[in-house]
């Protein structure tokens, strides 16, 4: 796949690879997403806005430059703005690939981090030289102002220009609690929401503090996704219950929605109003309790986001999907193309896979069906 290097949330030629419940793989324009929905379905998105969670500053004890990337919080309550888990890098910035970033100076309990106008203390070491829990020592109003003025969106080297905060907020973004954008939601502009609703499809949101997607360290990456707090309101839970009771499908916009909803179901046995922290990992062994399909980005094999898709389809289908994404030059990362994966009717069955490639991009205009 090609890294999407321009922060355009909804390029007109954005593509969508559909893997339907019968094993058909279909290439289409993402703008056609509403046509995949049926009256009675419910679409659930993550309405978290993205904090400018990258903070440059100085490790006071050594005087060395650092970058702190806030990575997790205790809850999505807006008053909880004091303590965060954080990944700390040495000097440099996003232009250096994360895996090549130097380590920070040795971090010890009680170390002071001066991050622009904000002062933070290392509260806890989290079993890795880069991973700590910090506490801001400022009043909460100053913390919000400090984050807003001094923070930058977390960014990776595949995008060369500095991201602005507005690049990272989905159109539906509300409470600023995510550390990286719940980017599947980039696809949802207000016209799309109207189109969805005109089809008799309900729309609900949850708030889930999406964490960071890469730490630059294989050992730490293996611990992803970190614990993520979320909130499912009573009205969202009710809308979901009503839709499902009437036979509608639940379509999750993004991996964070799957994680939160399935976590809530695993706790209560059914979906209800929940304020919690998602600690679950979703993969091959997961029996999905409430989500029927997912609209997500195109993810590289080996990532936690990619693993999550194996709860929807078998490994063979997933491998075929990856192959088609690769062959047809889908764009990846947060501003890339998308996949729509339905829970297969029978994950264990050896279904015939049929790929329909319509080729909407560039000069690669072809319309054909390939049996594989």
């Amino acid at each position: 796949m090609i890294p999407a290097g321009v922060p355009t949330q909804r390029p007109p030629d954005a593509r969508l690879l559909v893997v339907n419940s019968g094993g058909k793989i279909i290439d289409m324009l993402r703008a056609s997403f509403p046509t995949l929905l049926r009256s009675g379905d419910i679409v659930v998105a993550n309405d978290a806005a993205t904090l400018p969670a990258s903070l440059f500053g100085v490790h006071k004890r050594t005087g060395r430059s650092i970058e702190v990337r806030l990575a997790g919080s205790e809850s999505v309550f807006h008053g909880d703005v004091r303590q965060f888990s954080a990944v700390v890098f040495g000097e440099g910035n996003y232009r250096t690939p994360t895996e090549l970033r130097p380590s920070p100076p040795e971090l010890r309990l009680g170390d002071t981090l001066q991050l622009g106008p904000l002062t933070a203390t290392v509260l806890q070491l989290l079993d890795h030289p880069r991973f700590v829990r910090i506490r801001f020592e400022d009043p909460s109003a100053s913390i919000w102002e400090g984050l807003a003025r001094h923070g930058r969106p977390i960014q990776y080297s595949h995008i060369s220009t500095p991201l602005a905060v507005w690049d990272t907020w989905t159109p539906i973004a509300g409470l600023p609690v995510a550390f990286e954008p719940p980017s599947a939601g980039f696809a949802l502009d207000w016209c799309t929401l109207d189109a969805i609703q005109r089809r008799g499809v309900d729309f609900a949101t949850i708030t889930h503090a999406a964490g960071i997607s890469s730490t630059g360290d294989a050992e730490l990456d293996a611990r992803l996704p970190f614990d993520e707090p979320y909130r499912i309101t009573e009205s969202a839970a009710r809308s979901i219950q009503l839709a499902r009771a009437a036979g509608g499908r639940l379509i999750a916009i993004g991996t964070t929605v799957v994680r939160a909803l399935e976590h809530a179901v695993s706790i209560h046995g059914w979906l209800r109003e929940t304020t919690g922290v998602a600690t679950n990992r979703i993969g091959t062994a997961t029996e999905l309790g409430v989500v029927d399909a997912i609209l997500s980005g195109t993810h590289e094999p080996g990532t936690s986001h990619h693993r999550l898709l194996s709860a929807f389809v078998d490994q063979r289908t997933l491998a075929k999907m990856d192959q088609v994404l690769q062959q047809h030059a889908y764009r990846t990362h947060e501003f890339g193309d998308s996949v729509f994966v339905e829970k297969s009717r029978d994950r264990a069955a050896d279904m015939e896979l049929v790929v329909f490639v319509t080729g909407y991009r560039h000069d690669d205009v072809l319309t054909k069906a390939i049996s594989v």
Binding site: A49, A141, A148, T170, G174, L175, L193, T205
Partner: protein, 247 residues
């Protein structure tokens, strides 16, 4: 005193405001200041925005329950840092009052003598600023609607948005654009449960009016507190649940 006056208006409005999350731009003078004080008296949760840090801090010292945000809505680069603080401090939003305004050239001047820079500033402050801030907060307002609230955006307008007053060109044209923007947005956002209104407070005894019409007789002008009271009553009609309002 403010609370007392409102109490004599409509009793149902008193409880309606408790805990309602309101953001007011231009909150340190004139109508904005009166709104901030009165809404706090009604136990609303209020974030106010203004350009001058000293004045923001002074008002926060006066009213510790207010959340003060320093920012300039005419600057594109300030919009998201304002939005983050509004949403972070209030935990969501029910009402946005786009009140900050620019007169354009001061003293007022005919259009033929209005510099492009002054006209641009009026458009940035009176049209693009409210447009950008509303757009940044739209997700939060729509979330409020999904939770059963009745989110509202109020754009402060003027009779100069309707009538063609000589010398009020930059201000009048920009307010006319804001007025029309409000109507279109209200129609477009109805499906999301968000209301957008344009509201004309009338000629008030405010610093802005004093700059525009220095020889005006203050006693002939409306007090900002009276305008604020009228607006609060107007807003209550929009945000109260339909069943309750119709009783």
């Amino acid at each position: 005193m403010a609370t007392e006056s409102v109490e004599t208006n409509k009793g149902r409005e008193l409880t309606a405001w408790k805990g309602i999350r309101v953001a007011v731009t231009g909150g340190t003078s004139g109508l904005g200041l009166a709104l901030v004080r009165m809404l706090l008296d009604l136990e609303a949760r209020v974030a106010f925005i203004a350009r001058n840090r000293d004045r923001v801090e002074r008002l926060v010292r006066e009213r510790a329950d207010a959340r003060g945000i320093t920012g300039d809505v005419s600057q594109k680069g300030d919009i998201y840092l304002i939005a983050i603080q509004i949403l972070g401090e209030l935990g969501g939003l029910d009402i946005l009052i786009n009140n900050a305004s620019s007169l354009g050239p001061v003293p007022l001047a005919p259009l033929a003598d209005t510099s492009c820079a002054d006209f641009e500033l009026a458009l940035q402050t009176n049209v693009l600023g409210p447009f950008r801030l509303t757009k940044a907060l739209l997700g939060a307002l729509a979330a409020t609607a999904r939770e059963g609230g009745r989110p509202l955006v109020v754009n402060i307008s003027s009779d100069a948005a309707i009538s063609a007053y000589p010398n009020w060109g930059a201000y009048g044209a920009s307010k006319a654009a804001l007025h029309h923007l409000s109507g279109i947005w209200n129609a477009e956002l109805a499906s999301q449960g968000i209301q957008v209104i344009s509201w004309d407070p009338g000629d008030m005894d405010t610093p802005l009016h004093a700059v525009a019409v220095p020889d005006a007789e203050p006693t002939a002008l409306k007090r900002p507190e009276d305008a604020a009271r009228e607006l609060i009553s107007e807003i209550a009609d929009h945000i109260l649940p339909v069943t309750e309002a119709s009783q």
